[in-house]
Symmetry: C2
């Protein structure tokens, strides 16, 4: 392994204290799968009746654990979650699924549930067989040790080369009863060997049936995690799972069966806000980041077009290197809008850096002053605003700049 | 401007000597549009009856000169070409088209043709108005000076921050008569401020009607210039124009009206070979290049899918940084195949670095030896071979690695 990347300048000062989520317990271990001297195995244990929904990578070469989760999500029932870091169990042929089955069997025995109710995520090196013998035997002991207040330990155990752990919390009311939503994730900071796998796990005591939860999660993921880009690469392992224990029913919280139930509105907003916070934390830990960039697109043909345009800007190496260099190079933003393939009219396009209008009606704004924009570009957090001027579609995309740090991290030989 | 980038390690030792193309003359000038002490204006003058075909950027924010060429290509008649470097006349609002019209009028007067038979290309800074007053008055003098043997000067005048000029030649036979095809291009080496605009101009004395020529050019561009990627960004100005003077008719070369005419086969092959050579020269001058990379995809669903997979690999920052670091990181190639969105079956995929099988049937090849592949990765020219194993589709894509040099070039402040 190369030397660790320096911490992101956007790392929060401390991890938040989060309340307990009734029906959720965690335990972690140092299994030594790849890393030494740190936890790399997480077991989550959930109360009977826990429902689960989720969103998985669209990669055509997705990993064995992702294949497994896709099957489990059809039933929507969960009793356990096993996450390991250090090895992604991706592109590992038939052995990959064998490892997953051994892991699920061990966790099922430890927790007392069918293997199909065990969810599994792996992150780390691709193409190296993952030996379940390194950690499956630990799951029984972990199930006995699992604690309701182990959130910080859980958030740390899933990290690979993230420079800080990512944990957030919200509360919401359903039918007048307060419920808790906690979540943690790992993001875009893998030095070796492969890619910015994103794993995110969210837990609530709200009683929501899996199909209804699925609707909320899919909608919200589209506007949060699917709007974060570091380098445009798609991991074989990206996984977002939301577990709902339903324990709040014991406090007379009504059970929600339909996503259209109006009583879910506050929960849906809180879940979205939580996912947004976690997604932004992922962008703020982007490999080699020196500037955090928010891209706000409006006036596009529709929201989908707005997101594609935002991602085209956020994925453009030329835009990202310009920002790294403090260069208000709006010509590259025009280029990226043009390449997105969505409806655009050069002569209706306007671009702002922060609140400063730089381009308007197909040309440089008459009020444009290079010094003013150059000063803005010195800030650590940059907002690019693009108005297509042709419709009502809007989207927000979060990214970071492209720096020598990114090259250092990713051109490192694996050794 | 920053300091010039160092020359590409793949620059040819010298520019080739090329034969004359009957009916084609060039003149160049130092107009001082942006650069000082170098030529930045090219006038091409063509014999009456010259036909033209071409391919233009698909950007939705394309430049005024591209809009102009699109109109001219409908008629397919050309008598002059004006190219300036230093200013792309892109995102310049209504003024952009005014500049184009002034330029076309001036060239038309100089050459003695309708303005619609003047083709125009501009490359350089975006969003700065291009003042035709800087160069339009020079065109009359240039028309008088134009010479048949000014190929080296022409190839140099269109450069922006290319580190070497790019010129190639072929001959072909049509109905037993030899014709000449010369071409030059500029590529992916713009420091300031904007992007890797690709301009390519090809000239032949073959008598081929514009619609037939268009079919050949579009087909060949798809397999040559549209298979080159430096950073996945699409210029507002990319232009490929092929001019056919028809002068070989005077040597009894038959006139070709249909692309299906079997007498055109040798010419089509020669044109394709020329475009391929020029496209590869563009990749070999990629910004910050230290490794030239050829990606050969086969076994895809169809050729289109193969090209998309090849481009997904060639555009992946993670693949490109791995190659820069000499890392045979085939896991990143698997990732890039997975993200392309085309049909793929993880367990039928095989990957070779050069002739070395690294991954096979969904996992690391049993014969894989890290040392052997690491040694291969030290070479300056790397071939990645991907076999999807599901169909007959194939494509070749050319690119370069992603290095600190790229960041240096593109994160430079424009100043």
């Amino acid at each position: 392994m190369g030397k660790p990347a320096p911490p992101s300048p956007f790392a929060p000062a401390s991890l938040p204290d989060v309340p307990l989520v009734p029906g959720v317990r965690f335990a972690t271990a140092e299994a030594g799968i790849r890393y030494q001297g740190r936890t790399d195995l997480l077991l989550g244990v959930f109360a009977p009746g826990t429902e689960v929904a989720g969103v998985l990578t669209r990669s055509k070469t997705r990993s064995a654990p992702v294949d497994w989760c896709a099957i489990g999500l059809r039933d929507g029932k969960a009793r356990a979650l096993v996450v390991n870091s250090g090895n992604a169990n991706a592109f590992t042929g038939k052995k990959g699924m064998e490892t997953v089955v051994i892991t699920a069997d061990a966790a099922a025995a430890a927790v007392g549930c069918p293997p199909g109710e065990v969810f599994i995520a792996s992150t780390g090196v691709i193409g190296e067989p993952l030996d379940a013998g390194k950690f499956a035997h630990l799951l029984g002991k972990l199930a006995g040790e699992a604690k309701a207040d182990a959130w910080h330990a859980a958030a740390r155990a899933v990290m690979t080369t993230d420079t800080f752990p990512k944990l957030a919390t919200r509360t919401a009311k359903i039918g007048g009863v307060e419920v808790v939503i906690n979540g943690f994730c790992k993001g875009a900071g893998m030095i070796q060997p492969d890619m910015a796998t994103m794993l995110c796990f969210v837990f609530t005591d709200a009683p929501i049936a899996a199909p209804a939860l699925q609707t909320l999660v899919a909608d919200s993921a589209d506007r949060t995690f699917n709007c974060v880009t570091i380098d445009g690469d798609t991991s074989t392992s990206d996984t977002l799972l939301v577990f709902a224990t339903g324990e709040a029913e014991k406090r007379d919280c009504p059970r929600i069966a339909e996503p259209t139930d109006p009583r879910i509105a506050d929960f849906a907003a809180a879940l979205h806000s939580l996912l947004r916070e976690l997604a932004i934390l992922v962008a703020k830990d982007g490999e080699g980041i020196t500037k955090f960039v928010t891209i706000e697109v409006e006036g596009a043909e529709d929201d989908r077009a707005a997101r594609r345009i935002g991602l085209a800007i956020g994925n453009s190496p030329l835009v990202k290197t310009a920002i790294a260099g403090g260069d208000a190079n709006w010509g590259r933003v025009v280029m990226a809008v043009g390449k997105a393939g969505e409806a655009a009219d050069r002569d209706k396009l306007s671009i702002r850096f922060g609140d400063i209008l730089v381009a308007h009606e197909g040309e440089r704004a008459p009020t444009y002053r290079e010094e003013e924009v150059a000063l803005y570009m010195q800030r650590p957090e940059i907002v690019l605003r693009v108005d297509l001027g042709i419709g009502d579609g809007r989207a927000t995309v979060w990214t970071c700049d492209l720096t020598h740090g990114y090259i250092d991290i990713n051109a490192d030989y694996r050794s």
